[in-house]
Protein backbone atom coordinates (compact mmCIF):
# COMPACT_ATOMS: atom_id res chain seq x y z
CA UNK A 1 0.00 0.00 0.00
CA UNK A 2 2.84 2.41 0.98
CA UNK A 3 6.31 1.50 -0.12
CA UNK A 4 9.45 3.59 0.26
CA UNK A 5 12.59 2.27 -1.41
CA UNK A 6 15.91 3.99 -0.60
CA UNK A 7 14.16 7.31 -0.36
CA UNK A 8 16.38 10.36 0.03
CA UNK A 9 15.11 13.91 0.27
CA UNK A 10 17.44 16.85 -0.08
CA UNK A 11 16.35 20.41 0.48
CA UNK A 12 18.48 23.06 -1.12
CA UNK A 13 20.36 25.14 1.47
CA UNK A 14 20.02 22.46 4.11
CA UNK A 15 23.21 20.56 5.01
CA UNK A 16 22.53 16.81 5.26
CA UNK A 17 19.47 15.34 3.52
CA UNK A 18 16.19 15.51 5.49
CA UNK A 19 15.72 11.82 4.67
CA UNK A 20 18.43 9.33 3.82
CA UNK A 21 17.89 5.93 2.21
CA UNK A 22 14.61 5.31 4.00
CA UNK A 23 13.02 1.98 3.14
CA UNK A 24 9.78 0.54 4.56
CA UNK A 25 6.62 -1.11 3.43
CA UNK A 26 3.21 -0.63 5.05
CA UNK A 27 0.66 -3.18 3.95
CA UNK A 28 -3.00 -2.84 3.21
CA UNK A 29 -5.06 -2.33 6.38
CA UNK A 30 -2.07 -1.79 8.64
CA UNK A 31 -1.94 0.76 11.48
CA UNK A 32 1.47 2.36 11.90
CA UNK A 33 3.03 5.07 14.01
CA UNK A 34 5.87 7.15 12.63
CA UNK A 35 7.94 8.48 15.52
CA UNK A 36 11.11 10.47 16.01
CA UNK A 37 12.42 13.69 17.45
CA UNK A 38 11.48 17.05 16.09
CA UNK A 39 13.24 17.51 12.78
CA UNK A 40 13.81 13.80 12.25
CA UNK A 41 11.81 13.84 9.01
CA UNK A 42 8.30 12.64 9.91
CA UNK A 43 6.39 15.40 8.13
CA UNK A 44 8.74 15.16 5.17
CA UNK A 45 7.97 11.44 4.91
CA UNK A 46 4.21 12.03 4.97
CA UNK A 47 4.51 14.80 2.37
CA UNK A 48 6.45 12.47 0.11
CA UNK A 49 3.73 9.86 0.48
CA UNK A 50 1.12 12.50 -0.37
CA UNK A 51 3.37 13.62 -3.25
CA UNK A 52 3.45 17.22 -2.07
CA UNK A 53 7.21 16.69 -2.39
CA UNK A 54 9.14 14.35 -4.66
CA UNK A 55 12.09 12.32 -3.43
CA UNK A 56 15.58 13.35 -4.51
CA UNK A 57 16.53 9.69 -4.70
CA UNK A 58 14.71 6.37 -4.48
CA UNK A 59 11.04 5.75 -5.12
CA UNK A 60 7.78 6.22 -3.21
CA UNK A 61 4.91 3.96 -4.21
CA UNK A 62 1.43 4.55 -2.84
CA UNK A 63 -1.64 2.61 -3.87
CA UNK A 64 -0.27 1.96 -7.34
CA UNK A 65 1.11 5.47 -7.87
CA UNK A 66 4.86 5.80 -8.24
CA UNK A 67 6.67 9.04 -7.43
CA UNK A 68 8.75 8.43 -10.53
CA UNK A 69 5.82 8.04 -12.89
CA UNK A 70 3.02 10.21 -11.52
CA UNK A 71 3.01 13.63 -13.15
CA UNK A 72 1.96 16.79 -11.28
CA UNK A 73 -1.20 16.81 -13.37
CA UNK A 74 -2.15 13.38 -12.05
CA UNK A 75 -1.41 13.89 -8.36
CA UNK A 76 -5.10 14.61 -7.73
CA UNK A 77 -5.89 10.97 -8.43
CA UNK A 78 -3.52 9.88 -5.67
CA UNK A 79 -4.91 12.51 -3.29
CA UNK A 80 -8.38 11.01 -3.61
CA UNK A 81 -6.97 7.64 -2.55
CA UNK A 82 -4.92 9.06 0.34
CA UNK A 83 -6.54 11.35 2.92
CA UNK A 84 -4.49 13.57 5.20
CA UNK A 85 -4.99 15.48 8.47
CA UNK A 86 -2.69 17.87 10.32
CA UNK A 87 -1.85 19.16 13.75
CA UNK A 88 -3.44 22.53 12.90
CA UNK A 89 -6.50 20.97 11.16
CA UNK A 90 -6.37 23.32 8.12
CA UNK A 91 -10.13 23.84 8.10
CA UNK A 92 -11.77 26.87 6.49
CA UNK A 93 -12.39 28.73 9.74
CA UNK A 94 -15.37 30.89 8.76
CA UNK A 95 -17.31 27.99 7.25
CA UNK A 96 -19.42 25.59 9.24
CA UNK A 97 -18.43 22.00 9.93
CA UNK A 98 -20.89 20.86 7.27
CA UNK A 99 -19.67 23.42 4.74
CA UNK A 100 -16.07 22.31 5.24
CA UNK A 101 -17.13 18.83 4.17
CA UNK A 102 -19.39 19.90 1.31
CA UNK A 103 -16.52 22.04 0.02
CA UNK A 104 -14.26 19.00 -0.23
CA UNK A 105 -17.04 16.98 -1.82
CA UNK A 106 -17.88 19.70 -4.32
CA UNK A 107 -14.34 20.37 -5.48
CA UNK A 108 -13.82 16.67 -6.09
CA UNK A 109 -16.85 16.45 -8.31
CA UNK A 110 -19.73 15.27 -6.14
CA UNK A 111 -23.06 16.09 -7.81
CA UNK A 112 -24.89 18.93 -6.10
CA UNK A 113 -27.92 17.07 -4.74
CA UNK A 114 -25.65 14.56 -3.00
CA UNK A 115 -23.48 17.14 -1.25
CA UNK A 116 -25.45 17.68 1.95
CA UNK A 117 -26.60 14.10 2.57
CA UNK A 118 -23.08 12.79 2.05
CA UNK A 119 -21.53 15.48 4.24
CA UNK A 120 -24.05 14.67 6.97
CA UNK A 121 -23.19 10.99 6.76
CA UNK A 122 -19.46 11.79 7.06
CA UNK A 123 -20.07 14.03 10.07
CA UNK A 124 -22.09 11.35 11.83
CA UNK A 125 -19.30 8.88 11.13
CA UNK A 126 -16.95 11.05 13.22
CA UNK A 127 -19.66 11.66 15.84
CA UNK A 128 -20.21 15.35 15.11
CA UNK A 129 -23.72 15.49 13.67
CA UNK A 130 -24.81 17.85 16.40
CA UNK A 131 -22.16 20.45 15.42
CA UNK A 132 -22.89 20.50 11.70
CA UNK A 133 -23.96 24.16 11.75
CA UNK A 134 -21.15 25.48 13.95
CA UNK A 135 -18.41 27.49 12.34
CA UNK A 136 -15.06 25.71 12.38
CA UNK A 137 -13.35 28.35 14.50
CA UNK A 138 -16.03 27.97 17.18
CA UNK A 139 -15.35 24.25 17.61
CA UNK A 140 -12.99 22.73 20.16
CA UNK A 141 -9.68 21.34 18.95
CA UNK A 142 -10.92 17.76 19.18
CA UNK A 143 -14.06 18.65 17.24
CA UNK A 144 -12.04 20.46 14.58
CA UNK A 145 -9.82 17.45 14.14
CA UNK A 146 -12.91 15.26 13.70
CA UNK A 147 -14.18 17.61 11.00
CA UNK A 148 -10.77 17.40 9.35
CA UNK A 149 -10.94 13.60 9.48
CA UNK A 150 -14.45 13.62 8.02
CA UNK A 151 -13.16 15.88 5.24
CA UNK A 152 -10.24 13.52 4.60
CA UNK A 153 -12.78 10.70 4.21
CA UNK A 154 -14.80 12.60 1.61
CA UNK A 155 -13.15 10.83 -1.31
CA UNK A 156 -13.32 7.40 0.37
CA UNK A 157 -9.54 6.97 0.59
CA UNK A 158 -7.75 3.70 1.26
CA UNK A 159 -5.03 5.38 3.30
CA UNK A 160 -5.18 8.02 6.01
CA UNK A 161 -2.06 10.04 6.81
CA UNK A 162 -2.05 11.98 10.07
CA UNK A 163 0.74 14.44 10.86
CA UNK A 164 0.85 15.00 14.61
CA UNK A 165 -2.97 14.99 14.79
CA UNK A 166 -3.01 15.16 18.58
CA UNK A 167 -0.43 17.91 18.82
CA UNK A 168 -3.01 20.53 19.75
CA UNK A 169 -5.39 18.26 21.64
CA UNK A 170 -5.81 17.46 25.31
CA UNK A 171 -5.76 13.94 26.69
CA UNK A 172 -9.46 13.23 26.22
CA UNK A 173 -9.65 14.60 22.70
CA UNK A 174 -6.52 12.67 21.76
CA UNK A 175 -8.08 9.46 22.97
CA UNK A 176 -11.22 10.20 20.96
CA UNK A 177 -9.28 10.82 17.77
CA UNK A 178 -7.23 7.66 18.20
CA UNK A 179 -10.34 5.61 18.82
CA UNK A 180 -11.70 7.00 15.59
CA UNK A 181 -8.50 6.00 13.76
CA UNK A 182 -8.84 2.51 15.16
CA UNK A 183 -12.43 2.24 14.00
CA UNK A 184 -11.40 3.33 10.52
CA UNK A 185 -8.51 0.88 10.59
CA UNK A 186 -10.87 -1.89 11.70
CA UNK A 187 -13.00 -1.23 8.64
CA UNK A 188 -9.97 -1.77 6.41
CA UNK A 189 -8.28 1.61 6.13
CA UNK A 190 -4.52 1.86 6.27
CA UNK A 191 -3.51 4.51 8.85
CA UNK A 192 -0.08 6.13 9.17
CA UNK A 193 0.22 8.57 12.02
CA UNK A 194 3.29 10.71 12.77
CA UNK A 195 3.80 11.62 16.41
CA UNK A 196 6.64 12.28 18.79
CA UNK A 197 4.44 11.28 21.76
CA UNK A 198 5.94 7.93 22.77
CA UNK A 199 3.48 7.47 25.67
CA UNK A 200 0.73 7.48 23.11
CA UNK A 201 2.52 4.88 21.01
CA UNK A 202 3.06 2.63 24.03
CA UNK A 203 -0.67 2.53 24.68
CA UNK A 204 -1.18 0.69 21.40
CA UNK A 205 1.09 -2.30 21.70
CA UNK A 206 -0.34 -3.98 18.62
CA UNK A 207 0.52 -1.16 16.24
CA UNK A 208 3.46 -1.04 13.89
CA UNK A 209 6.11 1.48 14.94
CA UNK A 210 8.60 3.17 12.63
CA UNK A 211 11.17 5.46 14.15
CA UNK A 212 13.16 8.10 12.33
CA UNK A 213 16.38 9.54 13.64
CA UNK A 214 18.00 12.44 11.78
CA UNK A 215 16.48 11.36 8.52
CA UNK A 216 17.30 7.67 8.80
CA UNK A 217 14.98 4.83 9.69
CA UNK A 218 16.26 3.81 13.13
CA UNK A 219 13.67 1.21 14.06
CA UNK A 220 10.85 -0.71 12.40
CA UNK A 221 8.79 -3.09 14.53
CA UNK A 222 7.33 -4.72 11.48
CA UNK A 223 10.46 -5.16 9.43
CA UNK A 224 10.86 -8.57 7.86
CA UNK A 225 14.49 -9.47 8.32
Amino acid sequence: MIKLADVTKDFPKRGPPALQKVTFHIRKGEFAFLTGHSGSGKSTTLRLIHMAHRPTGGEVRVSGFSSALTSEREVWKLRRRVGMVFQDFRLLPSRTALENITFALEVTGTPRPQLIPRAQRLLSKVGLSSKAGSRAHELSGGEQQRVAIARALATEPLVLLADEPSGNLDERATRGVLELFHELNASGMCVLMATHDLDLVRRFPGARVLELNEGRLAYDSGAVS
Partner: protein, 284 residues
Amino acid sequence: MHALREAFAAVRRAPLLTALSAAMVALALFVVGLFGLVAHNLHLTLDRIEDRVEVVAYLRDDVRSEELAITEQELTALPEVDRVRYVSKDDALIQARQEMSEFQELFADLEFNPLPASLELALVPGNRDPETVARISEQVGLYPFVEDVRYGEEWVERLFLLRHMAGITAGVLGAGFALVAALIIATAIRIAIFARREEIFVMRLVGAKDGFIRRPFLLEGLFTGLVGGLFAVLLTYSAYAAVYSLIFPLEWLPPEWVLFGVLVGGGFGLVASTFAVRRYLREV
Protein backbone atom coordinates in the same frame (compact mmCIF):
# COMPACT_ATOMS: atom_id res chain seq x y z
CA MET B 1 -20.85 26.61 -11.99
CA HIS B 2 -18.45 26.57 -9.07
CA ALA B 3 -15.88 28.37 -11.22
CA LEU B 4 -18.37 31.08 -12.21
CA ARG B 5 -19.48 31.64 -8.62
CA GLU B 6 -15.89 31.83 -7.46
CA ALA B 7 -14.90 34.19 -10.26
CA PHE B 8 -17.68 36.61 -9.35
CA ALA B 9 -16.87 36.28 -5.68
CA ALA B 10 -13.33 37.37 -6.54
CA VAL B 11 -14.66 40.36 -8.45
CA ARG B 12 -16.88 41.30 -5.52
CA ARG B 13 -14.00 40.96 -3.09
CA ALA B 14 -11.78 43.34 -5.05
CA PRO B 15 -14.08 45.43 -7.24
CA LEU B 16 -11.63 48.34 -7.47
CA LEU B 17 -8.83 46.16 -8.77
CA THR B 18 -11.12 44.48 -11.27
CA ALA B 19 -12.28 47.91 -12.42
CA LEU B 20 -8.70 49.10 -12.75
CA SER B 21 -7.74 46.02 -14.75
CA ALA B 22 -10.73 46.44 -17.02
CA ALA B 23 -9.97 50.15 -17.41
CA MET B 24 -6.41 49.40 -18.54
CA VAL B 25 -7.63 46.83 -21.05
CA ALA B 26 -10.16 49.44 -22.17
CA LEU B 27 -7.45 52.09 -22.62
CA ALA B 28 -5.25 49.73 -24.58
CA LEU B 29 -8.08 48.76 -26.88
CA PHE B 30 -9.36 52.35 -27.05
CA VAL B 31 -6.07 53.44 -28.60
CA VAL B 32 -6.36 50.59 -31.08
CA GLY B 33 -10.01 51.50 -31.62
CA LEU B 34 -9.12 55.12 -32.40
CA PHE B 35 -6.58 53.91 -34.89
CA GLY B 36 -9.21 51.63 -36.36
CA LEU B 37 -11.53 54.59 -36.71
CA VAL B 38 -8.83 56.70 -38.39
CA ALA B 39 -7.70 53.84 -40.61
CA HIS B 40 -11.22 52.91 -41.60
CA ASN B 41 -12.16 56.47 -42.50
CA LEU B 42 -8.90 57.18 -44.27
CA HIS B 43 -9.46 54.04 -46.23
CA LEU B 44 -12.95 55.11 -47.23
CA THR B 45 -11.70 58.60 -48.06
CA LEU B 46 -8.80 57.27 -50.04
CA ASP B 47 -11.13 54.99 -51.93
CA ARG B 48 -13.40 57.89 -52.71
CA ILE B 49 -10.63 60.31 -53.60
CA GLU B 50 -8.66 57.68 -55.38
CA ASP B 51 -11.38 57.48 -57.96
CA ARG B 52 -10.27 60.98 -58.85
CA VAL B 53 -6.58 60.30 -58.61
CA GLU B 54 -5.42 60.95 -62.08
CA VAL B 55 -2.16 61.54 -63.74
CA VAL B 56 -2.48 64.62 -65.91
CA ALA B 57 -0.04 65.17 -68.74
CA TYR B 58 -0.01 68.74 -70.06
CA LEU B 59 0.77 68.86 -73.73
CA ARG B 60 2.71 71.31 -75.81
CA ASP B 61 0.62 73.32 -78.19
CA ASP B 62 2.49 71.94 -81.21
CA VAL B 63 1.59 68.31 -80.59
CA ARG B 64 0.41 66.52 -83.71
CA SER B 65 -2.87 64.67 -83.62
CA GLU B 66 -1.36 61.41 -85.06
CA GLU B 67 1.22 61.37 -82.33
CA LEU B 68 -1.51 61.96 -79.83
CA ALA B 69 -3.64 59.08 -81.09
CA ILE B 70 -0.73 56.63 -80.85
CA THR B 71 0.17 57.86 -77.42
CA GLU B 72 -3.40 57.47 -76.22
CA GLN B 73 -3.39 53.88 -77.45
CA GLU B 74 -0.03 53.11 -75.84
CA LEU B 75 -1.06 54.55 -72.52
CA THR B 76 -4.40 52.75 -72.50
CA ALA B 77 -2.52 49.51 -73.06
CA LEU B 78 -0.61 49.90 -69.80
CA PRO B 79 -2.01 47.47 -67.22
CA GLU B 80 -2.17 50.13 -64.51
CA VAL B 81 -4.13 52.55 -66.65
CA ASP B 82 -7.89 52.35 -66.74
CA ARG B 83 -8.93 55.14 -69.11
CA VAL B 84 -7.24 57.96 -71.01
CA ARG B 85 -9.18 61.12 -71.76
CA TYR B 86 -8.05 63.90 -74.03
CA VAL B 87 -8.91 67.41 -72.91
CA SER B 88 -8.40 70.00 -75.61
CA LYS B 89 -7.34 73.60 -74.98
CA ASP B 90 -10.91 74.74 -75.47
CA ASP B 91 -12.32 72.11 -73.15
CA ALA B 92 -9.77 73.15 -70.57
CA LEU B 93 -10.88 76.76 -70.80
CA ILE B 94 -14.54 75.87 -70.50
CA GLN B 95 -13.79 73.68 -67.53
CA ALA B 96 -11.72 76.40 -65.89
CA ARG B 97 -14.48 78.92 -66.38
CA GLN B 98 -16.96 76.58 -64.72
CA GLU B 99 -14.78 75.54 -61.85
CA MET B 100 -13.39 78.95 -61.06
CA SER B 101 -16.39 81.18 -61.50
CA GLU B 102 -14.84 83.86 -59.31
CA PHE B 103 -12.25 84.41 -62.08
CA GLN B 104 -14.96 84.50 -64.73
CA GLU B 105 -13.97 87.99 -65.84
CA LEU B 106 -10.35 87.14 -66.08
CA PHE B 107 -11.08 84.23 -68.38
CA ALA B 108 -13.55 86.26 -70.43
CA ASP B 109 -11.03 88.96 -71.21
CA LEU B 110 -8.39 86.62 -72.51
CA GLU B 111 -7.08 87.33 -75.97
CA PHE B 112 -5.67 83.88 -76.38
CA ASN B 113 -6.15 80.59 -74.51
CA PRO B 114 -3.23 80.07 -72.08
CA LEU B 115 -4.37 76.68 -70.93
CA PRO B 116 -2.62 73.64 -72.39
CA ALA B 117 -4.38 70.60 -73.73
CA SER B 118 -3.93 67.53 -71.58
CA LEU B 119 -4.29 63.79 -71.27
CA GLU B 120 -6.01 62.62 -68.11
CA LEU B 121 -5.12 59.09 -67.06
CA ALA B 122 -7.43 57.27 -64.67
CA LEU B 123 -5.66 54.40 -62.95
CA VAL B 124 -6.98 50.93 -62.26
CA PRO B 125 -8.11 50.59 -58.60
CA GLY B 126 -5.33 49.10 -56.51
CA ASN B 127 -2.68 50.99 -58.51
CA ARG B 128 -3.16 54.31 -56.82
CA ASP B 129 -0.41 54.11 -54.23
CA PRO B 130 2.27 56.80 -54.40
CA GLU B 131 4.88 54.47 -55.93
CA THR B 132 2.78 53.35 -58.89
CA VAL B 133 1.46 56.84 -59.52
CA ALA B 134 5.00 58.22 -59.56
CA ARG B 135 6.19 55.49 -61.90
CA ILE B 136 3.38 56.05 -64.41
CA SER B 137 3.95 59.80 -64.27
CA GLU B 138 7.59 59.34 -65.07
CA GLN B 139 6.73 57.12 -67.99
CA VAL B 140 4.26 59.66 -69.34
CA GLY B 141 6.81 62.45 -68.94
CA LEU B 142 9.13 60.71 -71.40
CA TYR B 143 7.00 61.67 -74.40
CA PRO B 144 8.66 64.68 -76.03
CA PHE B 145 5.45 66.65 -76.45
CA VAL B 146 4.56 66.32 -72.79
CA GLU B 147 5.44 69.54 -71.12
CA ASP B 148 4.60 68.68 -67.54
CA VAL B 149 3.06 65.85 -65.55
CA ARG B 150 0.98 66.43 -62.45
CA TYR B 151 -0.58 64.09 -59.96
CA GLY B 152 -1.73 64.82 -56.48
CA GLU B 153 1.65 63.63 -55.27
CA GLU B 154 1.79 65.56 -52.03
CA TRP B 155 -1.58 64.78 -50.64
CA VAL B 156 -1.58 61.17 -51.83
CA GLU B 157 1.70 60.70 -50.04
CA ARG B 158 0.48 62.61 -47.03
CA LEU B 159 -2.64 60.50 -46.68
CA PHE B 160 -0.63 57.32 -46.89
CA LEU B 161 1.92 58.72 -44.44
CA LEU B 162 -0.85 59.73 -42.05
CA ARG B 163 -2.26 56.24 -42.14
CA HIS B 164 1.18 54.83 -41.56
CA MET B 165 1.94 57.09 -38.61
CA ALA B 166 -1.46 56.49 -37.06
CA GLY B 167 -0.70 52.80 -37.28
CA ILE B 168 2.68 53.12 -35.59
CA THR B 169 1.37 55.42 -32.87
CA ALA B 170 -1.55 53.13 -32.13
CA GLY B 171 0.77 50.13 -32.12
CA VAL B 172 3.21 51.66 -29.65
CA LEU B 173 0.58 53.17 -27.35
CA GLY B 174 -1.63 50.09 -27.56
CA ALA B 175 1.27 47.79 -26.73
CA GLY B 176 2.25 50.02 -23.81
CA PHE B 177 -1.23 50.04 -22.36
CA ALA B 178 -1.58 46.31 -23.05
CA LEU B 179 1.58 45.66 -21.07
CA VAL B 180 0.33 47.70 -18.13
CA ALA B 181 -3.05 45.97 -18.42
CA ALA B 182 -1.36 42.56 -18.33
CA LEU B 183 0.59 43.52 -15.22
CA ILE B 184 -2.51 44.78 -13.44
CA ILE B 185 -4.53 41.71 -14.39
CA ALA B 186 -1.68 39.55 -13.11
CA THR B 187 -1.69 41.48 -9.84
CA ALA B 188 -5.45 41.10 -9.51
CA ILE B 189 -5.14 37.37 -10.09
CA ARG B 190 -2.29 37.16 -7.63
CA ILE B 191 -4.36 38.89 -4.97
CA ALA B 192 -7.34 36.66 -5.74
CA ILE B 193 -5.13 33.60 -5.42
CA PHE B 194 -3.68 34.86 -2.17
CA ALA B 195 -7.14 35.54 -0.77
CA ARG B 196 -8.12 31.97 -1.65
CA ARG B 197 -4.93 30.30 -0.47
CA GLU B 198 -6.64 28.30 2.27
CA GLU B 199 -9.30 27.04 -0.12
CA ILE B 200 -6.63 26.24 -2.70
CA PHE B 201 -4.68 24.28 -0.09
CA VAL B 202 -7.77 22.25 0.79
CA MET B 203 -8.64 21.70 -2.86
CA ARG B 204 -5.21 20.28 -3.55
CA LEU B 205 -5.29 18.31 -0.31
CA VAL B 206 -8.47 16.45 -1.15
CA GLY B 207 -7.65 16.00 -4.84
CA ALA B 208 -9.39 18.67 -6.88
CA LYS B 209 -8.13 18.70 -10.47
CA ASP B 210 -5.73 21.47 -11.50
CA GLY B 211 -8.12 22.76 -14.12
CA PHE B 212 -10.85 23.02 -11.54
CA ILE B 213 -8.61 25.08 -9.26
CA ARG B 214 -7.52 27.36 -12.10
CA ARG B 215 -10.83 27.90 -13.81
CA PRO B 216 -12.24 30.62 -11.51
CA PHE B 217 -9.11 32.74 -11.97
CA LEU B 218 -9.11 32.28 -15.73
CA LEU B 219 -12.78 33.25 -15.83
CA GLU B 220 -11.98 36.32 -13.79
CA GLY B 221 -9.35 37.31 -16.35
CA LEU B 222 -11.68 36.58 -19.26
CA PHE B 223 -14.45 38.62 -17.66
CA THR B 224 -12.13 41.55 -16.92
CA GLY B 225 -10.92 41.51 -20.53
CA LEU B 226 -14.43 41.37 -21.97
CA VAL B 227 -15.59 44.27 -19.79
CA GLY B 228 -12.47 46.18 -20.85
CA GLY B 229 -13.26 45.43 -24.49
CA LEU B 230 -16.82 46.69 -24.10
CA PHE B 231 -15.58 49.87 -22.43
CA ALA B 232 -13.10 50.38 -25.25
CA VAL B 233 -15.98 50.20 -27.73
CA LEU B 234 -17.88 52.74 -25.64
CA LEU B 235 -14.88 55.08 -25.48
CA THR B 236 -14.20 54.74 -29.18
CA TYR B 237 -17.85 55.43 -29.94
CA SER B 238 -17.78 58.56 -27.76
CA ALA B 239 -14.73 59.79 -29.64
CA TYR B 240 -16.48 59.02 -32.89
CA ALA B 241 -19.63 60.85 -31.82
CA ALA B 242 -17.65 63.87 -30.63
CA VAL B 243 -15.71 64.18 -33.88
CA TYR B 244 -18.86 63.60 -35.86
CA SER B 245 -20.82 66.40 -34.22
CA LEU B 246 -17.98 68.86 -33.62
CA ILE B 247 -15.55 68.50 -36.48
CA PHE B 248 -16.65 66.48 -39.47
CA PRO B 249 -18.76 63.46 -40.31
CA LEU B 250 -17.08 60.09 -39.95
CA GLU B 251 -18.04 56.53 -40.66
CA TRP B 252 -18.47 54.20 -37.65
CA LEU B 253 -16.51 50.97 -37.63
CA PRO B 254 -17.87 47.84 -39.28
CA PRO B 255 -19.69 45.65 -36.70
CA GLU B 256 -17.31 42.72 -37.17
CA TRP B 257 -14.39 44.97 -36.16
CA VAL B 258 -16.27 45.95 -33.00
CA LEU B 259 -17.04 42.33 -32.13
CA PHE B 260 -13.45 41.38 -32.87
CA GLY B 261 -12.21 44.14 -30.55
CA VAL B 262 -14.34 42.91 -27.64
CA LEU B 263 -13.20 39.34 -28.25
CA VAL B 264 -9.58 40.48 -28.36
CA GLY B 265 -10.15 42.07 -24.94
CA GLY B 266 -11.52 38.80 -23.57
CA GLY B 267 -8.74 36.76 -25.15
CA PHE B 268 -6.18 39.16 -23.78
CA GLY B 269 -7.60 38.85 -20.26
CA LEU B 270 -7.60 35.08 -20.58
CA VAL B 271 -3.98 34.95 -21.74
CA ALA B 272 -2.79 37.38 -19.06
CA SER B 273 -4.55 35.40 -16.32
CA THR B 274 -3.25 32.10 -17.68
CA PHE B 275 0.30 33.35 -17.22
CA ALA B 276 -0.51 34.81 -13.80
CA VAL B 277 -2.18 31.61 -12.60
CA ARG B 278 0.71 29.51 -13.79
CA ARG B 279 3.13 31.77 -12.00
CA TYR B 280 1.29 32.46 -8.73
CA LEU B 281 -0.51 29.19 -7.99
CA ARG B 282 2.92 27.76 -7.33
CA GLU B 283 3.44 30.24 -4.50
CA VAL B 284 0.55 29.18 -2.32
